[in-house]
């Protein structure tokens, strides 16, 4: 049993995010309101890696955007590190990663990575700040591309820039909405490996939305299964695989069992 795992299973770990009875209704004033989320209750602990899976339309992205204070829930409360989601966002504790890289094409790689610091009124001409950005660019494997423009980069490289931009201001919580969904299979696997490596290195609470079940099992401490219309927590599965995980983990009997049982669950939900 690794140190990491021992930490996860200890009972006095610090609660980071408390999702309490959260619901979200779209178009509430109209003739056909849509209940996207209903009574979601989840506790997420510090440094935990959580994946949210479920059939399409189950409100995975909606839930993540509620946590990130990008949309407001219509009921319930989200508590992050003792404050509201809005306070967490405003104090730069959160970092949201989108389905697309959302790079600003008129900015170089470096300038894109500096964007969050610029908004936080850091002096981005300061060599120390630039060093900080440079280090992150190195971490995501883009050394030498600081002055390239996004159009010169491949999809995988662009997504790495987006990761660097999300990491650079040292947030406490990563909220990732299928950040690699638009990439091809091979690149996606590579990026997942990167993500696992980075997570093992810097240990941040991460909520990862995906429709890729093997990916969720491989990366997570817990996998949350949402059922569709309205989105509700159907199951929470603890992934009891040792860390650090490697490519070999994918071949473990236990890994395969987790993957198969979760696939079964999601398929069953999709039929309903």
């Amino acid at each position: 049993m690794s140190l990491d795992e021992a930490h996860m299973t200890s009972t006095n770990q610090k609660r980071m995010i408390d999702i309490d009875g959260v619901g979200k209704m779209y178009n509430p004033e109209t003739a056909n309101p849509v209940q996207a989320l209903n009574n979601i209750n989840i506790d997420i602990y510090e440094n935990e890696f959580i994946s949210i899976i479920g059939p399409s339309g189950c409100g995975k992205t909606t839930l993540l955007k509620c946590i990130g204070d990008i949309i407001k829930p219509t009921s319930g409360e989200i508590n992050i590190g003792g404050g509201t989601a809005a306070e967490a966002r405003q104090s730069s504790q959160l970092s949201f990663f989108f389905q697309e890289d959302v790079l600003l094409p008129w900015r170089s790689v470096m300038e894109n990575v500096l964007l969050p610091l610029e908004i936080q009124d850091e002096d981005t001409s300061n060599p120390e700040i630039r060093k900080q950005a440079k280090d992150i660019i190195d971490t995501v494997g883009l050394s030498g591309f600081e002055d390239s423009s996004p159009q010169q980069l491949s999809g995988g490289m662009r997504q790495r820039v987006a990761l660097a931009r999300g990491f650079v201001y040292d947030p406490q919580i990563f909220l990732m909405d299928e950040p690699f969904a638009a990439l091809d299979e091979l690149t996606r696997r590579k990026m997942n490996r990167e993500l696992l490596r980075i997570h093992q290195e810097i240990q941040k609470t991460t909520i990862f939305v995906t429709h890729h079940i093997a990916e969720a099992v491989w990366l997570s401490d817990r996998v949350i299964v949402l059922s569709p219309s309205p989105g509700e927590v159907y199951d929470i599965v603890e992934i009891d695989l040792p860390r650090p995980r490697t490519e070999d983990t994918r071949g473990d009997q236990e890994f395969v069992e987790y993957e198969e049982s979760l696939t079964e669950t999601v398929m069953q939900l999709d039929v309903q």
Binding site: K65, G68, D69, I70, R89, Q90, S92, L94, S95, F96, F98, Q99, E100, V102, L104, P105, W106, L115, P116, E118, I119, Q120, F145, S148, S149, Q151, Q152, L153, S154
Partner: protein, 274 residues
Amino acid sequence: MATETSNKASTQNLGSKAGEIISEYKYPAVFLVVFVGIWTFGVRIYSIPTYVLPTPLDILQSFQGELSNLWRHTRVTLLEAFLGWILGNMIGISLGAVMAEFQALKRSIYPYMVILRSLPVIAFAPLLIIWMGINQGPIIAAATITTFFPSLVNSIAGFSSTDRLTKELMHSLNASRWEVFRKVKLYNALPYIFSALRISVALTFVGAVVGEWLAGNEGLGYLILVANNQLATLLLFRALLVIGIFSTAWFGLLVVVESYLIDWDNQSGGGATR
């Protein structure tokens, strides 16, 4: 690796640049020669008098000794057209930015803008003269008005063109409204703004020439009016040619400036066009 490939591509570009230019201008050049030929030939064959239709050569020759006089009038019109263009675009672009940012304002005044826009400028001219007198004021105002509307429409479209995901990103980074505007919306609007600047070059000349017809005592529009009264067809053609040259050069200059300023916009041609 990416930089290496792009370097290679640019050297290749330099090598084939001349060939590219030739192949690009080959067709219009041939067309020009054929067109001028038919024109000249037709005038000669049917013995069309010069005051009805001079030959291209007649027109070119008539510039001799007229240049300084022509330049005096050209200067006047250029200034009017330029001021109208600057004013119309400044007002159009900034009002467009404000209207895109404040939807309530846009909804309140846009319908009236549409109605105003459907009125021909020439209908405003007498009013402008009553308000400002017979001088360059109403001429510049006419050029401003013709420039203003396409500029406004493009500006609204441009400042509204930022996609939802980028707005969500900026929100998640806790950017203020002003920061979103300055760091994102302004850049997204630039191709639309340049589109407006280009379109309005031709329009500002329309405004200036029409303005001069009604309130001018100098300028190329005024010259066209005089030429018309005197059946001085050569003079008329000279004035037209000068307007054509300057508005094309102006347009071309904008294309060059835009290509230097906006080097990221390779996917869209940039902007609404009306």
